[in-house]
């Protein structure tokens, strides 16, 4: 059943407000389109590499956001070069996608190239896969914070995916 757009808008308002101060401290450029229910964030890695994260939030929070990276130079969507590369499978080459229950693109039912046929949307906010309490990453700011932590630390970020 579709989530009323105004309900989703309220989630966006609340969750983006929570992370507003942190976003300013970290130098994120946050844009919210309340008509398309899309949050776009520009952020930088510790070495200056630029990233654009797009979160399409139709039917949020019944479904997690569809998170995509957009190449900052060409504006190409979802290409490996647009993605960061880390030391584990969080930034996953299959998709490519963010491999986390909060990332709609990680679900094979959404993206045939995605890594997870075993996940379902029903418990995306309370999943404990990999021993992680994903409830701690069930708000938009949490997801952005996780991405930023992984690109702002030299011990986690190794460059672009391609």
């Amino acid at each position: 059943m579709a989530v009323d757009k105004e309900v989703t808008r309220q989630h966006l308002r609340e969750e983006i407000a929570l992370v507003e101060e942190l976003a300013k401290t970290c130098g994120w450029d946050v844009t919210v389109d309340y008509e398309t229910l899309t949050v776009t964030v520009k952020m930088g890695a510790h070495n200056g590499d630029r990233y654009i994260v797009e979160m399409v939030c139709d039917n949020y929070k019944e479904k997690p956001p569809y998170i995509e990276f957009i190449d900052p130079d060409t504006r190409a969507r979802g290409i490996p070069r647009a993605y960061p590369r880390g030391k584990d499978s969080f930034f996953h080459q299959a998709g490519p996608c963010i491999c986390a229950p909060f990332s709609r693109k990680a679900y094979k039912s959404v993206c045939p190239a995605a890594p997870h046929a075993d996940w379902s949307f029903g418990n995306w906010q309370t999943s404990t896969v990999n021993g992680v309490s994903w409830v701690d990453y069930s708000k938009l700011g949490d997801m952005l914070g996780l991405i930023y932590t992984r690109i702002s630390r030299a011990d986690h970020y190794v460059g672009r995916m391609a």
């Binding site: 929570l18 942190l22 499978s89 969080f90 491999c99 309490s133 030299a154």
Partner: protein
């Protein structure tokens, strides 16, 4: 009017779920401050969270060290961060 208390540190901790003011004893270790922040922001205790200085977000503070060893003083802004997991 409050008295200047030389025994405590009055700091702000920013997180993905807002910003809060904290008062820590000067002997407080990073691990203790982290645990208090995790609880205050309503995060699950089991996950791995770390504190970083807002002025140096790429370097997590070592848990066993006292906050003051990082020159944390009244007004310092810290950030509560997490890594999650690779699935």
């Amino acid at each position: 009017m409050g008295h200047n208390n030389d025994k405590t540190l009055e700091v702000k901790i920013q997180s993905t779920r807002g910003t809060k003011d904290f008062s820590f004893a000067k002997t407080t270790k990073v691990s203790e401050a982290t645990a208090q922040a995790v609880s205050a922001f309503g995060f699950a205790q089991g996950d791995k969270f770390e504190l970083v200085l807002a002025t140096n977000p790429g370097e997590p503070l070592q848990p066993e060290r006292p906050l003051v060893s990082y020159h944390v003083e009244d007004g310092t802004v810290l950030i509560l961060t997490a890594i999650g997991g690779g699935v």
